[in-house]
Amino acid sequence: MKSIRMIALAASVAAASACGGSNTTPTTPSVTVGPTTELFESTLAPRGAAFFSFTVAQTGDTDVMLASVSTSTAPAATTSVVVGLGVGTPIGSDCSTTKVMQATAALTSPLVVNMTPGIYCVRVFDLGNLTSTVNFAVRIVHT
């Protein structure tokens, strides 16, 4: 008797498959967004500030690296001057920062922030240490 029930069940499953599985619930395919790298290059004047907006498509960490600060475009003009570095959200014509720190140029990311999808910004600003305009480059890696 047991073997007969098993055969009946197998026949039933085979029949359902043959009908295309119409009882299954459709699911929305998920899309994994890979990290995006953006480069923010600009100049910073004494007592000045500059910001860059970017869009996070998926929840994840955003790494912000102040990679370069130089006093001119000559290769030997790198400087270790301390400037302000922050992340936040764009507001009007500026960036309202929610996390800030002091930073010198380095190839590691001092600012790592977990972000949900949305529009954010990175702000670089003088802390009073600049005596002339500098060039800077910030690398932003986000999801």
């Binding site: 690296m65 370069s68 290769p75 030997a76 790198t78 190839l107 060039n135 480059a137 690398r139």
Partner: protein, 96 residues
């Protein structure tokens, strides 16, 4: 490398760690040149430098920095003393 010139190349660090750059030889020998590392960009030629030194060739790394994983650039540049024929440079970049 031509007088007044720069010579950079890109490399990819597969993980965070130390990068050591060694200027191993120049021709003419013992030429003073600049050695630098940074990220690809447009502020200084093709490489926005983070750190640079002036050095002559040697066997020990003249420039060492910590990096995150990612794409970086390193190379040499004239610091002002090259003759009209320029200089042949050989350097190595050890990275994760």
């Amino acid at each position: 490398m031509a007088p007044g010139g720069v010579l950079f190349h890109q490399f990819v660090a597969s993980a965070a760690g130390a990068v050591n750059i060694t200027l191993t030889a120049t021709d003419p020998a013992a030429t003073l040149v600049g050695l630098g590392i940074g990220i690809p960009g447009g502020n200084v030629g093709s490489c926005d430098l983070t750190k640079s030194v002036q050095t002559r060739p040697g066997s020990a790394a003249q420039l060492s920095v910590l990096v995150d994983a990612g794409t970086f650039c390193a190379g040499t540049f004239d610091v002002g003393g090259l003759g009209t024929k320029g200089v042949l440079v050989t350097y190595s970049v050890a990275h994760p």
